[in-house]
């Protein structure tokens, strides 16, 4: 089975670190992963998307995925079509799992079509003293809701992904991941990644 996860937001929201934490965490559990930071054609600022594919076997999906099983939506700046592309929403299918950062994502979502989970990630991060850690909160929440990887693996993935000159942030990041996991305690495995009856996500 293959799961395609998208992450979308704006510069500075920690999208790349979140994507790498998920990828390394899943690899830590022995799964195959591929990760591509979507290239916006400009080195400076703007759109930061990333996609991660996680699979039991060899990965068939190309790195630029056209369908997302799930998306971590930190910001809605690139959700709908823009001049830069057709927008992230166009990659979702009926039943796709959307983790919405309700603190900074305003666009209305079709809750009949998508399985939407609101997580006040930025608010929770602010409560922990640093709004930049919203994406880490989301990583924890994602582990809880989907079980795509254990929360401890996500933390391990984060540990391996933090560059050496930022090692002092590891503890705070870990707290944020755990806070995200706790915030969805009532929704654990509400959208399980690896169970077969989850196949409503079809074209």
């Amino acid at each position: 089975m293959e799961r395609e996860i998208g992450l979308t937001g704006i510069g500075g929201q920690g999208i790349q670190l979140a994507a790498q934490s998920l990828a390394r965490g899943a690899a830590h559990e022995g799964r195959n992963v591929s990760l591509f930071g979507v290239y916006s054609g400009s080195m400076r600022g703007g759109r930061t998307d990333s996609s991660v594919v996680v699979a039991d076997g060899p990965i068939d999906a190309p790195p630029l995925v056209s369908h997302l099983w799930s998306v971590i939506a930190m910001h809605d700046a690139f959700w709908l079509p823009t001049v830069e592309g057709r927008g992230v929403q166009a990659k979702l299918r009926t039943g796709s799992v959307v983790l919405r950062n309700s603190s900074t994502f305003d666009t209305d979502l079709d809750r009949d079509r998508f399985r939407v989970f609101d997580v006040a990630a930025t608010e929770i991060a602010l409560g922990l003293g640093n709004e930049m850690m919203g994406s880490m909160v989301m990583v924890g929440a994602f582990a809880g809701i989907t079980g795509l990887l254990e929360v401890d693996s996500a933390i391990e993935g984060m540990r391996q992904s933090v560059p050496s000159h930022r090692k002092q942030h590891i503890e705070r990041n870990e707290a944020a991941i755990r806070a995200g996991f706790d915030a969805v305690a009532d929704r654990v495995l509400a959208a399980p990644a690896w169970s077969d009856d989850n196949e409503e996500v079809r074209a």
Binding site: A27, L35, F36, D60
Partner: protein, 360 residues
């Protein structure tokens, strides 16, 4: 297990080092620069040398010298830089100097350059085209093996997506079997012994060791090319036998096509794919066999139409050959355009099945 998440550019470097590459040089150009950066960091750590060449002309020259000593040596660039290197690559092929050259190309428009070359004389380079990072790790190592096996330059055709996609991999040396001794390598140790050596593109040997001579040298070229051609064609095919339609694609485009064809098969559509892994030698037989009795052979490539020539030569009229690719890029020109989208590709294949013309 020491699996680690690595970008393709880094994985290629680790693979080259695992294959024993100890010399690298290059001149920056995206997305080849990323490979050069990793080499410049890693080679000194393993006792190798990485030189920041002043230009591609110098890069290929330095690689020539390093390889002439018998060391495993490599360089690379993007299409433009490789254009500059053509004279040397052709000459090295004639002088039978084994090197590996990476083209981290911007799209697939360097297919002709890679398979035909822009150099002089009767020469060919083996061209390996990985579809993703994992395969790049394998084919990079194979490239060094084949270069030594045939004493011939080998090209690895990558691109931006391969350079920038990360996969969790454990790079281990692959054993491709025994190789002949490099008894031709030059290190000065035979000088003054009466048995000194020479590497030359025109077959003139040292006075004391009559080689095949100029005539023999040139007469030996065609059999050498034919031998490589007969032995080294590599290809992956999928769902070909009972298919009505075939899609041919290589590299990143091939990765997309095999994914799309897999999905269409799951929906009961009788389509198959052929993915050349070597662009030269081109897997003509496999393409010919796959095209037998098919309603059409489609070609998906990110260029104005280059691979399609080889497909037509192989199909030889057994089926209509229809282009469904095109030039697709983003504003940066790195060859990562909207066409690299499973939905778009599926749409183009379905248009052919429905008998419509594909507009790209």
């Amino acid at each position: 297990m020491t699996r680690r998440l690595m970008e393709g550019s880094e994985a290629i470097v680790e693979a080259a080092i695992a294959a024993g590459c100890r010399f690298f040089t290059g001149y920056p150009m995206t997305p080849f620069t990323e490979v050069l950066e990793h080499f410049s960091k890693r080679l000194p750590e393993v006792g190798g040398v990485c030189i920041n060449a002043e230009s591609e002309l110098e890069a290929i020259g330095m690689t020539w010298g390093a390889a002439a000593t018998g060391a495993r040596a490599a360089t690379g660039s993007v299409g433009q830089g490789l254009s500059l290197m053509q004279e040397s690559i052709a000459e090295m092929a004639l002088a039978r100097v084994p090197i590996v050259v990476f083209n981290m190309s911007r799209g697939q428009s360097d297919y002709f350059q890679a398979t035909r070359g822009g150099g002089h004389g009767d020469y060919r380079t083996i061209v390996l085209a990985p579809m993703d990072v994992s395969e790049a790790v394998e084919l990079t190592q194979l490239a060094f093996h084949l270069a030594d096996r045939w004493r011939n330059p080998v090209l690895v055709y990558g691109d931006f997506l391969i350079a920038h996609t990360s996969e969790a991999i454990d790079v281990q040396p692959i054993d491709f079997g025994p190789l002949p001794d490099k008894d031709w390598g030059i290190d000065g140790s035979t000088s003054g012994t009466g048995r000194s050596r020479m590497i030359t593109s025109i077959g003139i040997g040292k006075a004391h060791s009559p080689t095949s001579g100029i005539i023999g040298h040139f007469e030996g070229i065609a059999p050498h090319l034919a031998a490589m051609q007969a032995a080294e064609a590599r290809v992956e095919t999928g769902f070909v036998d009972d298919a009505d339609h075939i899609v041919v694609a290589f590299g990143t485009a091939g990765k997309f096509v095999r994914y799309v064809v897999g999905k269409m098969r799951a929906d009961g559509v009788r389509v198959g794919y052929v993915r050349p892994i070597t662009l030269w030698p081109f897997p003509e037989d496999a393409v010919a066999r796959a095209s037998e009795g098919k309603r059409a052979v489609m070609v998906f490539e990110n260029s104005a139409g280059q691979l399609i020539d080889d497909v037509k030569i192989s199909v030889l009229g057994r089926a209509p050959v229809i282009p469904i690719g095109g030039i697709s890029t983003d504003a940066s020109g790195f060859g990562v355009g909207d066409m690299y989208d499973a939905e778009v590709i599926r749409g183009r294949i379905e248009a052919v099945l429905a008998g419509q013309e594909v507009t790209s």
